[in-house]
Assembly symmetry: C2
Homo-oligomer: 459 residues x 2
């Protein structure tokens, strides 16, 4: 019988296994995998294999489990596995001001509520707890990447890393004294320190965020661009959110905000502009030429009655426009990307009086691959493809509000909710499992949020 | 020692207890009670006491528990106790066609999908399972009363009673052969049988539902009204949902649909008209004079690009306009009254370019007391007041998306979700406890929904 142990035979016996069954860290399986790849494939009974921080295989579960052995498996039999959602515009720490001032005119809201409260309360502790609360809500709802613009952005970065979330974090630069900077020069210095600290981080992309054209001097805007380009970092800005902003710019400078930014060279480099409501054709031509990414904020734009961005025209031109819930202190009240998808589709239809405008797939694109493109990160995130970062969510479909299911993409956009997300993986790491955060302390955060709430309400 | 048992002393000893501690079947306590009473009181640390089918006390918990002993208590320490939500327009059994055809023009949607599928599949079994699925979703999401228009409405009634839900159920009358009636005369006969069967039901209000002015003859419309009035029952109708409907009526009859109905006497009696988008001032004057209730369907109106109802004007005139999710087969995809509240507020703001339009309280009114008024049921339901039917929901607020909480009404409309509803009471009976239906078999319904889904998809 000894010849059975012949080394060559052993090699031949083992070879098929060695050749066809590679090692993965994690296999994620569901009833469907919505890939959002180039051909927008939706696979049934499919899986995604992950090694380290990236995806190593996507395909039918039978094939994946034959070819890969995994240290860990997540298998949600009624689940849709989809790319993690990408929030392209928000102000995370404002979670602590959730709903503090609704149904107001923008100026009253800002001047009577937000600015005085921020002046009193915004400090690193507020920022830390606000970011924790925001990350907790976002991750539980399937968001894996977010884009921020606020103060003490280095604290937001630290906290976001703790949470295990991916983010593009824009340090605010604005032409009046704010909580973390007395002058734009201070803010620029703070931004540069921030850039130096987060040079090659797997999760954090630091950015400079001049608040808007109308709240900064030309010189500050130019300095922001120069700093961003020197460190090869993105610039985040509010752009044409209100008609008043546009009208006043026309009166003062004789041109639109977009044209002003273009004339100053501010758009020459990676840029993410939020809202983009009052953009005319000439503005859009500039943004297209410059490759500027845009963030559509339907909830905020509706709630503040700011206007309706020409989304379908923008997307048809090939400009990347993602979705953002904006801040939750009155312009919206949560960070719910499912609601932004649903609303983007419905708002586009009613505003163009065309029920075929912005169909479900296009809404999901905005929340995933197009959002990634708006951030200049489409090579890393936004779809489930081999080589991309392993950022994904699994969404339960066996729900009274989501059965029967004729089309997983329609269901994701029009029927499923953030609360149906069961599991979330970011950069290959499981951060939410069975609707529970593995990285953040739910009870501590909720307690602290309510302490802050009481303190703010007492003022 | 015998004198201690003197009957008079016993009476005196017991009297204070008897006088101040009455017996209730149920006490429901929460962190807040949003009453929606005449002065819209929001009570903190408050309770509602229930006896049989109605409310016997509303007040601070300390006071209620002193004055009432209860067989059963529900105490949700982070909860908002609010009136159950009132859906004023839907097509419940279409739950089985959820999302079968999205992003289409109304005519294609109806003619290529809905009508052929209904012709093939609608029968009492379909109706029964579709209604179960719809009631399950609605009740889990805090809806306690709904308003329906579909076929085999007596099966819907039976099933709704099983579920323990309150409903106004309109048997469809339409000018072409449908699943349950070959002719309008058949449908009218079916409606009369339905009226006779549900004469004094605690939960079911039968109604006649001529589909619309443009799909019925004048004679049928008049017969519907006559039948409704003979039995003192409401009439439900679609009204001015599309511009085309209005334009064609102007061409054919030289008047608006509302004016046609008025000229035929169809509005003389309790009426609930759905959509009401293309109503002019003269139409609104008629509807106001006739006391017609309206149902606003923001999701459906946006998704089908039907138009935007002049809601703030309608409410300012004192016309009762409630909210409805419409059917889930493409005009919407679920029965989510939380989303309709949020959307009604946002749509009113953007369409009037006024962020103060339709504030949170008014959206909640539409979903509760104003909805009740639209149905002619404001004396029974729509608010938490002594003597009213015990229809209520409890909504958890200790959620990452709902903390901190500055205002419970704002939170209900803009931040909380259907999935935050923990408990639902209808007509004094607990039908949902800790997010589980006590009256419907969740698994059996979900299984059957997916069987129907597969069968329909295969065609």
């Amino acid at each position: 019988m000894r010849h059975l142990f012949n080394p060559l035979q052993c090699f031949l016996l083992l070879f098929p296994i060695a050749a066809f069954s590679a090692q993965a860290d994690l296999i994620v399986s569901g009833r469907w995998v919505v890939t959002m790849d180039g051909s927008r494939r939706v696979l049934e009974n499919a899986s995604v294999a992950v090694n380290g921080d990236h995806i190593v295989a996507v395909g039918p579960t039978a094939e994946i489990v034959k070819n890969w052995t995994a240290k860990q498996r997540i298998d949600v039999s009624d689940g849709i596995v989809a790319p993690g959602l990408i929030n392209t515009h928000t102000h995370a720490p404002m979670s602590l001001l959730r709903g503090i001032a609704d149904d107001l005119k923008l100026q009253d809201w800002l001047e009577k509520y937000i600015f005085p409260i921020e002046a009193k309360f915004v400090n690193p502790d507020f920022i830390r707890w606000g970011t924790r609360l925001a990350c907790l809500e976002m991750m539980l709802g399937g968001t894996t990447t977010y884009t921020d613009m606020y103060y003490f952005e280095e604290v937001i970065a630290e906290t976001t890393k703790e949470a295990g979330m991916r983010a593009v974090l824009g340090q605010t630069v604005i032409g009046f004294p704010v909580a973390d900077a007395k002058t734009p020069a201070d803010a620029l210095q703070r931004t540069e320190n921030f850039f130096r600290k987060y040079k090659k981080d797997p999760l954090i992309t630091p950015a400079v965020a001049p608040h808007a054209a109308y709240t900064n001097s030309d010189q500050t805007l130019k300095s922001c661009r120069a700093l961003a380009n020197r460190y090869d970092r993105p610039l985040i800005i509010h752009l044409s959110e209100t008609k008043r902003e546009n009208d006043e710019m026309m009166v003062k400078r004789g041109m639109s905000p977009t044209k002003l930014l273009e004339s100053l060279g501010v758009l020459e480099g990676r840029t993410i502009a939020a809202h983009g409501i009052w953009l005319d054709d000439a503005d859009l031509d500039i943004l297209k030429r410059r490759g500027t990414g845009l963030a559509h904020c339907p909830s905020s734009n509706m709630k503040l009655a700011s206007g309706i961005a020409p989304v379908t025209k923008i997307l048809d031109m090939g400009i990347a426009m993602g979705l953002g819930p904006d801040g939750p202190a009155g312009s919206n009240n949560d960070f719910n990307m499912f609601e932004e998808m649903d609303l983007a589709a419905k708002l586009a239809k009613i505003s163009t009086m065309n029920p075929q405008a912005l169909p479900a797939m296009q809404a999901l694109e905005m929340a995933t691959i197009t959002g990634a493109r708006a951030l200049g990160m489409e090579k890393e995130i936004g779809s489930l493809e081999v080589g991309k970062k392993a950022d994904m969510m699994i969404v339960h479909t066996r729900r009274a509000h989501a059965q029967p299911l004729f089309n997983p993409v329609s269901q994701l956009v029009y029927a499923l909710k953030a609360s149906d997300v069961s599991d979330v993986i970011i950069n290959g790491k499981i951060v939410v499992r069975n609707r529970r955060s593995l990285t953040l302390d739910y009870n501590a955060i909720l307690n602290q949020a309510s302490v802050y709430g009481a303190r703010i309400a007492a003022k």
